[in-house]
């Protein structure tokens, strides 16, 4: 093992506010950190999380309601917020709907 100090040793005061770190204190700190930061996935090198996806659907009007429901359901399942615009078009009767969707990860 290299003799250079651990990075964590150099920032202990930031984590433990000058207390001497112990395994028990580390356990408490991890538990506290887990309350608001849980690692849900991990990535290979060079592959940062992409947290925004855009998609456009073009569907018959009659099917647009079901599609929008599916999208909202999917967004909820993925803990994502969603920006959704629907642009109806068709003359003289409404025939099709273009649905623009943006998923944004919230975790």
């Amino acid at each position: 093992m290299s003799k250079e100090a651990r990075g964590s040793e150099k920032l202990w005061d930031r984590i433990f506010e000058h207390d001497q770190p112990t395994q028990a204190k580390l356990g408490e700190a991890v538990a506290a950190a887990r309350l608001n930061y849980k690692i849900l996935r991990w990535w290979n090198y060079g592959k940062p999380a992409i947290d925004r996806v855009k998609a456009t659907f073009d569907v018959p009007t009659a099917e647009s309601g079901a599609l929008i429901q599916d999208i909202l359901h999917s967004a909820a399942g993925n803990k994502a917020s969603i920006i959704l615009d629907a642009f109806p078009y068709g003359v003289p009767q409404l025939e099709r709907v273009q649905v623009n969707v943006t998923f944004e990860k919230t975790v």
């Binding site: 093992m1 150099k10 920032l11 849980k38 996935r41």
Partner: protein
């Protein structure tokens, strides 16, 4: 849901060349200016098309330095035509306005390597001006409204620099900061031996990431690439270790349902999970046969062995006693295990 990165993205990483304008001691692929070979555009297009048909929907181009790869734009165009999400991982030094403009409508995200404070970054990059040159390039990216993030390589010795890196990332308008443990493969194996963070250091790093995530909430997404033992224990499928009995049915599925990330190395060999993964588990060499044919064979012949490897690593991860530290580097564990014959 399967695999460490979930179901949203099924990723094909491409390392089309080992040519690089730098020669970093921590490089996992031993890239350098002396390297010259690169994969052909035709081969890459065909492989991308067949990978897309197997369900891969995101492509990340790395290297080597991808901006030194002559067919980069054509590869990105092809990936885009297939509807794939595209990213490029770069040291940032070559991101001049001309290149940024070329990338502008071809990528979803630029990932830039950043190894610590200015002094640390320059030392790791082997260039006394690497930090300054990279920073000077960021304005062009911002002007082009390209989303970008930084990748920080966590070693045993640099966690204390993470706050400064996060602060820099926020100042520069980065959307994300990926904290990735050093992998002791490639050049790092000899140049930075014993510098990969151990599980104790990963535990401290998690606490620091959580603190910084709170500090920069709403400004910076912080991604910590360590594996949470509790999470894996609850969901073995995240490390491909859930029980499977119906291999015959699974071979009918697209390859991306079975494994992601895939890595296309500069040699033409496609391996699962990570650059340098043992060839014993390789999908195949696309210079010898098509990706499609290799994928079909891999599902039948290699996938059961791959799952056995994953199960063995999982068992070792969770069988340790309750005092075991909460995080580990699964990629490192499985890389090491892949080089040892299965028992």
């Amino acid at each position: 849901m399967s695999g460490p990165i979930g179901d949203d993205y099924r990723v094909l990483q491409i390392h089309p060349t080992l040519r690089c304008n730098l020669k970093c001691p921590h490089c996992y692929s031993s890239s350098s200016p002396q390297e010259a070979g690169e994969l052909s555009l035709d081969l890459l297009r065909q492989t991308l098309s067949e990978a897309s048909a197997e369900g891969y929907n995101a492509v990340g181009v790395s290297g080597g330095e991808p901006l030194m790869f002559r067919s980069l734009y054509a590869v990105l165009d092809h990936a885009r035509s297939l509807g794939m999400v595209t990213t490029v991982t770069t040291n940032g030094l070559l991101l001049d306005k001309k290149r940024v403009n070329e990338l502008r409508h071809r990528i979803d995200l630029i990932a830039i390597s950043l190894d610590g404070t200015e002094a640390s970054h320059n030392r790791m990059r082997g260039n006394p001006r690497a930090f300054e040159l990279m920073t000077n390039r960021l304005n062009a990216i911002r002007e082009a409204s390209i989303k970008f993030g930084f990748i920080f390589t966590l070693t045993m010795h640099n966690l204390h620099e993470l706050e400064e890196v996060a602060s820099f990332a926020v100042e520069q308008g980065a959307s994300s900061l990926q904290v990735h443990p050093l992998e002791e493969v490639g050049r790092a194996q000899s140049m930075l031996a014993n510098s990969a963070p151990d599980d104790l250091e990963l535990a401290y790093a998690f606490v620091e990431c959580a603190r910084l995530k709170e500090k920069y909430a709403g400004q910076l997404q912080i991604q910590f690439d360590a594996t949470d033992r509790d999470l894996v224990r609850e969901s073995p499928c995240r490390v491909y270790a859930d029980d499977i009995t119906n291999f015959d049915e699974l071979v009918q599925l697209p390859l991306s349902d079975l494994v992601s990330v895939l890595v296309l190395q500069e040699s033409g060999v496609v391996v699962p999970l990570q650059y340098g993964f043992s060839r014993a588990y390789a999908i195949g060499d696309v210079t010898q046969d098509s990706f499609r044919n290799h994928a079909a064979r891999w599902k039948k012949e290699t996938y059961p062995t791959f799952r056995l490897l994953c199960r063995n690593v999982f068992d070792r991860m969770i069988e340790k006693d309750q005092s075991e530290l909460p995080f580990t580097n699964w990629y490192s564990l499985i890389m090491q295990s892949s080089c040892v014959p299965l028992r």
